[in-house]
């Protein structure tokens, strides 16, 4: 994986929509969102968010409709102006940037893919892909060459001369993806890019994003309200409700240890054995305890993949990490987890 810049630090971020925004001098930390709205008529769309995204990480933001996901992601490049809080990109203070620097940031460093594509219907596909380069004033030959490259990357070279409305939804979103890639950004923001697509195409597109991430290693912030998508793509997942963070953790943490009923509700239908690894169900080996001779697995093995072996073996599974046995997994624990009884022993997610 290529090491790239693109770390994002957010601290105490607030966004308030409505007339109250300009009146406030400090965030209404003590007032619940509903009470605030009832009192002022203004909406707290993002409420006191803090998190850091590492370089090359895929950071997924999840939540129900209206929970403030789109607002959050737009605040990152100040397409929506945050009300309070700190915002840093590779250490540089985004909120202190002037218009010119901000445009520079959007032109070169951060690019975005939208749910409804936002393509220009009066331009050919290739010109759409080259649009970002045109905006930043690159010569025509150069930008068309680059756009062709990008179309190649997303497998659309054959429709370069078509107009967007001649393409299917999935193809249009590939154009949106190519347009965002064309400026060679360090960070890519996705606002529910695939929710307008049908399930099969969506799976293709998810694979596409995964592939691009594997090959290019860009930092990605990915908004979705589809849990399966979040689990498939995310290194970490931030769950939001009414603008505030409810939980931030790895997919396993979210599924294995939901922070509250809201998150639990989200993950209820996920087969946990498909997400959780053996680490989640193993019993740490007590010092001096014999490991036995059960089948051996790495700690990162997804439980589902260990099921046949567990079914066939009377002895507990041995869980290895760094070449040594760190724990044992008894069959009963796996069955208990699948049945949904009892919480797994280990793992508390990052508190937020």
């Amino acid at each position: 994986m290529v090491e790239r810049a693109g770390a994002i630090d957010v601290h105490g971020l607030w966004k308030i929509f409505g007339p109250e925004e300009r009146r406030l001098s400090a965030p209404p930390v003590d007032e619940p969102s509903a009470a605030f709205r009832a009192r002022t008529g203004s909406t707290i769309a993002v409420r006191d968010l803090s998190f850091s995204i590492a370089r090359g990480e895929v950071f997924v933001v999840m939540g129900l409709s209206g929970s403030g996901k789109s607002t959050l992601v737009r605040c990152l490049t100040r397409l929506i102006e945050p009300t309070f809080g700190e915002l840093r990109l590779d250490g540089e203070d985004v909120r202190a940037m002037d218009e010119r620097r901000l445009r520079e940031l959007r032109r070169r460093t951060v690019s975005m893919v939208f749910q409804h594509f936002g393509l220009l219907p009066h331009r050919r596909v290739i010109e759409n892909v080259a649009f970002g380069l045109e905006i930043r004033g690159e010569p025509k030959g150069e930008r068309l060459r680059r756009a062709e490259e990008m179309l190649d990357l997303v497998g659309l070279s054959h429709v370069a001369a078509s107009y967007p409305d001649q393409l299917s939804g999935g193809m249009q979103q590939r154009v949106g993806l190519a347009r965002a890639l064309a400026v060679d950004p360090e960070v890519m923001l996705f606002d529910e890019p695939f929710s307008a697509l049908d399930p099969l195409i969506r799976r293709d597109m998810q694979a596409e994003v995964k592939r691009l991430h594997r090959e290019q290693g860009r930092t990605m912030v990915f908004i979705t309200h589809d849990l399966a998508e979040a689990l498939k793509l995310g290194d970490r997942i931030l769950v939001m409700r009414e603008g505030a963070a409810v939980q931030l953790g790895t997919p396993a943490e979210i599924v294995g240890a939901p922070a509250d009923d809201y998150v639990a509700d989200f993950v209820r239908d996920v087969p946990r054995s498909h997400v959780l690894t053996l680490r989640w169900v193993m019993r740490p080996l007590a010092p001096g305890e014999p490991a036995g001779d059960g089948p051996a697995f790495s700690a990162e093995t997804v439980i589902r993949d260990a099921l046949p072996a567990a079914a066939a073996s009377e002895a507990p599974l041995r869980v290895f990490e760094g070449g040594v046995v760190v724990g044992l997994v008894e069959r009963g624990r796996i069955l208990g987890l699948i049945a949904g009884a009892g919480e797994p022993a280990a793992g508390a997610s990052e508190s937020v």
């Binding site: 737009r74 490049t77 397409l79 445009r103 520079e104 940031l105 959007r106 032109r107 070169r108 690019s111 975005m112 939208f114 749910q115 409804h116 594509f117 936002g118 393509l119 220009l120 219907p121 009066h122 050919r124 649009f131 970002g132 045109e134 905006i135 930043r136 078509s162 107009y163 409305d165 001649q166 949106g176 347009r179 400026v183 923001l189």
Partner: protein, 651 residues
């Protein structure tokens, strides 16, 4: 009956229904009229101090025109620049001459809108010559084009601003509303006051009339660009100007061309009216003919105006269609081939223009190729008038003696306070307290202007015309909503009626009824009915099919369906139809001052032609605006949907 429902019933009875209040208001007003009639009236006073004050204002402006810096600026800079624009276009078209203009416009039409429309344009320009009105047509065309340029210069930037800024949009909408309910007649006099008679005043008046449309449609187009697309451009670091240049304007292209189309139609309609302040062209021919009651020669000029309207409409609408087709399907494969043909056609047109210019043929259309409708139409008009004398006179007398005269007598003999009170009460019941205050104040101002009696005469005609228009419009609208076949048959007539300049409506009325107040009412009916019919039909057809189906399935008769479902559910459209019908009727009743309509309209016309009457004419213009405001407010319940109508009612 439960306690709760009984309480609700009492509460309902406690607040008398609006219908009851209206009946009380009508009854009370009638009673008061019987008791107080003839007292507290304001008979017309030629020597009103307002008139002389306005005359003095004019004298002062005339005296200081050369010295007062503001006036100098207006006259020298604004008037000078606009005059230059108009005369340049006009001189150029006249110098090119008829063969060049005809072929050049044909070539242009081919390039912009395709072969079919090029043929229409060619035929139209040939028709101007055949009618023997080439020179007048070119004058009208030049003034229209100059006014459109002016309107677009002002309207596009403001429309774009209104499209991009919610604040500016909210601020400018009420201004546009006021501009659009002002009867066109009203602002000619003040313009003349500042800019004198001439092309500049005519072009400015026309631009004032057309600009609201330009701004509205432009803003609509810019606002129609999806937010996501704009956001996508911003996310790529586009500057606001880049967003405008590369996203909003190209994506709104079709609507912007439509804005040009509508601006042009509005401009043409108004250019014809500016003949009242001595603008040359077809309007002048019509006015001369109208004043001589020469129906044939008015028809000749009217026909030329209609042809010009069709030519300009098809040309710009065709260009808009092409813009849309290109946006949708992308340029076709044989793009290059077509471009070569277009360039060829344009080259031929250019050569024709140059040859025609060098030959110096000018406006000299061959005499042998002319055809005049003057005599046949006059003969026809005379024949109709004599053959149907009983019918037309009967109808005219019926309405005049049966409706106009009695209503006029009531209004003129009623005490001023009673009229104002009744109107304010109506506004209160029909709309709101604020509407009542505005409507009452408007009438009070009319009284203060010294034009009460004339205003009541105009009001009487307007109310009668509005009643006829609304009644007939409702029936025809219902018919159209219930029968697709009838609607299809009626539509071309409505389309035609809505693209025609206002003066044209006077012609058939004049041909049938001669110069009377009734003529103005008929013209107003023809002018306003299409909008009313459209709105009624749209409203009824807008009732969701599901609701109609549910009612039908529970066994309603078509009649019950209409009365119990469709009419109540389309209440908003019906109210809007009433509001627009009345405002449009007023505008036309006033124009009827040209053909014996009397009242305020006549005062305005007299103000243009006689210097001593200037003050009264100007005051009458203001009084017309006030009447318009009053009528609009009283029927304002539907005002919120006015925008839609302006989109629907082209010219």
């Amino acid at each position: 009956m439960g306690v709760a429902t009984a309480a609700a019933e009492r509460a309902r009875l406690g607040r008398p229904s609006r219908r009851l209040l209206l009946a009380l208001l009508a009854g009370g007003a009638a009673l008061l009229w019987v008791v107080f009639r003839g007292t507290g009236t304001l008979p017309h006073d030629e020597g009103s101090p307002v008139f002389s004050a306005l005359n003095e204002l004019r004298a002062w402006i005339d005296a200081n025109r050369a010295t007062n810096p503001v006036l100098v600026l207006l006259i020298d800079v604004v008037r000078g620049a606009i005059d230059l624009l108009v005369t340049t276009i006009s001189d150029l078209l006249h110098a090119i001459g008829w063969p060049g203009v005809t072929l050049g416009m044909g070539a242009l039409a081919y390039a912009l809108a395709g072969r079919r429309i090029a043929l229409i344009v060619l035929a139209g320009f040939l028709a101007f010559g055949v009618l023997g009105l080439w020179e007048e047509s070119i004058d009208t065309l030049a003034l229209t084009l100059a006014s459109v340029v002016l309107s677009l210069l002002v309207g596009f930037p403001l429309g774009i601003l209104a499209g991009r800024s919610d604040r500016f949009h909210a601020a400018i909408l009420p201004v546009l509303d006021v501009m659009q309910i002002m009867p066109t007649f009203a602002y000619l006099a003040p313009l003349v006051l500042f800019f004198l008679i001439g092309p500049a005043s005519a072009a400015i008046a026309t631009a004032i009339y057309a600009i609201p449309t330009t701004i509205r449609i432009t803003a609509l187009g810019i606002r129609g660009v999806p937010e996501t697309t704009i956001e996508a451009a911003r996310s790529l670091g586009a500057t606001p100007f880049q967003v405008l240049r590369r996203v909003q304007i190209p994506m709104a292209r079709r609507t912007l061309v439509l804005a040009i189309n509508q601006t042009m139609m509005m401009a043409l309609a108004m250019v014809v009216i500016t003949a009242l302040i001595s603008a040359p062209g077809l309007g002048a021919s019509i006015i001369t003919a109208l004043q001589k009651v020469n129906v044939g020669s008015a028809f000749q000029a009217g026909l030329a105006i209609v042809i010009m309207a069709i030519v300009l409409d098809r040309l710009t609408a065709g260009a808009a269609d092409r813009a849309e087709r290109e946006d949708r399907s992308g340029r076709t494969r044989d793009e290059a081939a077509r471009r070569r043909i277009v360039i060829g056609v344009l080259a031929v047109g250019l050569i024709a223009v140059l040859l025609s210019l060098l030959s110096g043929i000018g406006d000299d259309w061959p005499k042998a190729l002319r055809f005049s409708f003057v005599k046949p139409v006059n003969d026809l008009s005379d024949w109709v008038k004599t053959s149907f004398y009983d019918l037309t006179t009967g109808l005219k007398d019926l309405v005049t003696y049966g409706l106009i005269n009695p209503l006029q007598a009531v209004l003129v003999s009623a005490p001023v306070w009673l009229v104002i009170g009744t109107v304010a009460g109506l506004a209160l019941l029909a709309s709101s307290a604020r509407a009542a205050v505005v409507a009452g104040s408007a009438l009070l101002a009319v009284a203060l202007l010294g034009l009460w009696e004339h205003a009541m005469i105009t009001l009487a005609s307007t109310l009668i015309a509005a009643a006829i228009t609304l009644g007939a419009g409702l029936l025809l609208g219902i018919a159209a909503a219930r029968s697709d076949r009838y609607a299809a048959a009626q539509r071309p007539f409505l389309d035609a009626a809505q693209t025609m300049p206002a003066f044209v409506y006077l012609l058939p009325a004049l041909a049938l009824f001669g110069p009377t107040r009734f003529t103005a009412i008929v013209a107003a009916f023809i002018y306003a009915a299409p909008s009313v019919i459209r709105l009624v039909e749209d409203g009824l057809r807008g009732v969701p099919a599901g609701v109609v189906e549910a009612a039908t399935s529970s066994g309603t008769t078509p009649r019950q369906l209409l009365w119990k479902v469709q009419l109540p559910m389309s209440r908003a459209s019906l109210l809007l139809a009433a509001n627009q019908g009345i405002v449009l009727v007023l505008a036309m009743v006033v124009v009827g001052g040209l053909v014996g309509g009397g009242g305020l309209g006549y005062d305005v016309v007299a103000g243009f032609s006689q210097r001593t009457e200037f003050g009264k004419g100007l005051a009458a213009g203001i009084a017309i605006v006030l009447l318009g405001v009053m009528l609009d407010r009283v029927t304002q319940a539907a005002g919120a949907r006015r925008d839609e109508l302006h989109a629907a009612h082209g010219a």
